[in-house]
Point group: C2
Chain length 436, copies 2
Amino acid sequence: MKPIKVGLLGIGTVGSGTFKVLQRNQGEITRRAGRGIEIAMVADLNTARARQLVGNAATVTDNGRDVVTNPEIDVVVELIGGTGIAKELVLEAIANGKHVVTANKHLLAKYGNEIFAAAHAKGVSVAFEAAVAGGIPVIKALREGLTANRIEWIAGIINGTTNFILSEMRSKGLAFDTVLKQAQELGYAEADPTFDIEGIDAAHKITLMSAIAFGIPVQFEKAHVEGITKLTPADIEYAEELGYRIKLLGISRRTGDGIELRVHPTLVPAKHLIANVEGVMNSVLVKGDAVGQTLYYGAGAGSEPTASAVIADLVDITRTLTADPHNRVPHLAFQQGSLADTPILPLGKVVSSYYLRIRVANQTGVLADITRIMADQDISIDALLQKEPAEGEHQAEVIVLTHQTAEANVDAAIAKIEALPTVVGSVVRIRQEDLS
Amino acid sequence: MKPIKVGLLGIGTVGSGTFKVLQRNQGEITRRAGRGIEIAMVADLNTARARQLVGNAATVTDNGRDVVTNPEIDVVVELIGGTGIAKELVLEAIANGKHVVTANKHLLAKYGNEIFAAAHAKGVSVAFEAAVAGGIPVIKALREGLTANRIEWIAGIINGTTNFILSEMRSKGLAFDTVLKQAQELGYAEADPTFDIEGIDAAHKITLMSAIAFGIPVQFEKAHVEGITKLTPADIEYAEELGYRIKLLGISRRTGDGIELRVHPTLVPAKHLIANVEGVMNSVLVKGDAVGQTLYYGAGAGSEPTASAVIADLVDITRTLTADPHNRVPHLAFQQGSLADTPILPLGKVVSSYYLRIRVANQTGVLADITRIMADQDISIDALLQKEPAEGEHQAEVIVLTHQTAEANVDAAIAKIEALPTVVGSVVRIRQEDLS
């Protein structure tokens, strides 16, 4: 049978990994897919570099439109990133009846509903395993492996850069800025690290997983997003004393009132498997009503791990190429037209436990004031640490771990605590999840 | 669209879980599958119990042939177990053009080649996610999620009973027999626990994963199988001192000479994620050349976790029901007719590291004798512990951790060590894997 012809938009890190792995493993991949998979055309602004990478194996162009309009091309792999030209080319590829594989979480988290609807109308697939957690086949697990389940929640370490930074801060007691610089030197963080360290990249990914898990449209604009830039080594150490580690988690949970969708630093029990996922590795924990907890772990980024996911999607498309489009796995796991309109919960209604760090003047009575405020807000206390001032300092620290309560209660308590004359500066708040 | 009609062979633990989950989550499952999935007929020898479970929802019979010959039934779910009547009914269902879903690892590990060939000839699917690691979608990950990769090795905790026993032995310092009794009382071990504790169940599962990973026929008869019955709390403790935990692993690895296929107690680095999988939980670690290591974790058994896998297979079949059979995912991941004839390696050629525990008379010179024998066999030593005799005893213990060497070298060394007049009884040998 004639090989599937693939057009590549962008041949940077992931694109060149995809090209290399397809070449290296073409024998095994063909034995699996039943047909060869061939990159026939590559579009990249740097045509010289592209030509060097692909040699005579593929045509090189500097214009993506050459790829998406080429009638020889069956599948377009979009690896440009961002929401500009990538969006135009993906929509044009779909309009021309081509299947699309993309690693672009930003694009899908923002414009997924529009893109999936266009693909559905045209009867083509838009596959995006590579957009979430790199090489870990977690989109497949959620969309196909756990279809029996009413998913209760998902919690994932889905950004390797921030997990590397947190791992280093904890194991070496270093400050955020110091480790960020190291991460940049090691190539684990970009020159402009905003998307990673502010939690935006993780929010793109949890948005996509949330849609698949709960059968709701993609709703990135409703996600609560908090990064790790304000975390201090002290918080990490105190959390450790209390039996927890701090991880940047993407969390989405189904509740009676709606769906929680949030990214923030989170205290997780130190003994939980996910607390022990260190360095740049990713891991996603899924709780289903039938299966219980399952966990998926692996490399969340990098050239060949991400290529592994891109190629898995290419093989899936190859295997179902002649299948009736209505019997393909739906983009968002649930059939188009049967998505739910369950609302995303506002953060104030989210129920969680909380770690609060409060800097206080070292005076008697402060603790009584704080605990009274919390009792008034119906917040009960799970654990409390008092850290005496270091020599020559006058301010102590109080760390409170609360039981579960609504975020709005904690907001109110924090406002009152910060208004106490004995309290200095802002209260540090980190959410805590038992993941049970 | 008319719902898919399912016939259930056996409605015990997993069967009743499947029925319950399909009923409870039928709304979500239909939204995912695009059609209803309905258990229309149930065969079980205990018809009274079966009727009580299914009420008026399904016809009940005591004869499995009624199910596999019923023209109304689209898919047969085989949950009888064993290789007797289950084999006959599966083959008859296939001959009648029905798709089959089964949790029966024993059947597939022994007769998989015959069954898959019959299904291929007839153009039907035999799906078996539930046969390996319960609710963890690891068959899907291997067969569809990691298709880009040349798989290098798989190592899995794929038997919950033995992992529970080992976890208890370690955390409480108890003997094997004591914990086995507790496991039986808790329902984690069967009255006849042979298949679990002797490693046979794990061997069935690693045999199936090995076929899928490497594109080879199912070859259970060539697996090396060792259980956990001879492990002592002392070995677990010494392993701990050396920085390792002992897990019963199913291991399959591709080497230049052939494929390793083995189940045995294994020392794994205590810091590795898989070493921290405790109790009845399962976990499978897969190393691919592109993706690196990925890990899958969850419940490996139980009513609803296993039902979760059965139903995922039913949804997959529903989604592809009109698809051209040649474009379906192949049973063993690689297209029928393109399986490889890579041999399974004999154990003597397997290269591993080893933990050896040697009981010796407390005399000078013993250690020199032992280390000389090992040097003569080209075995280099990674670590060595000497345990002095307890008061009133005259025998000490020597624990040796070796570097990598061929099993045949270790066989030879052990024979010579056991022949030393100063060595008492047999040498305990446990393999060690770095999983890196």
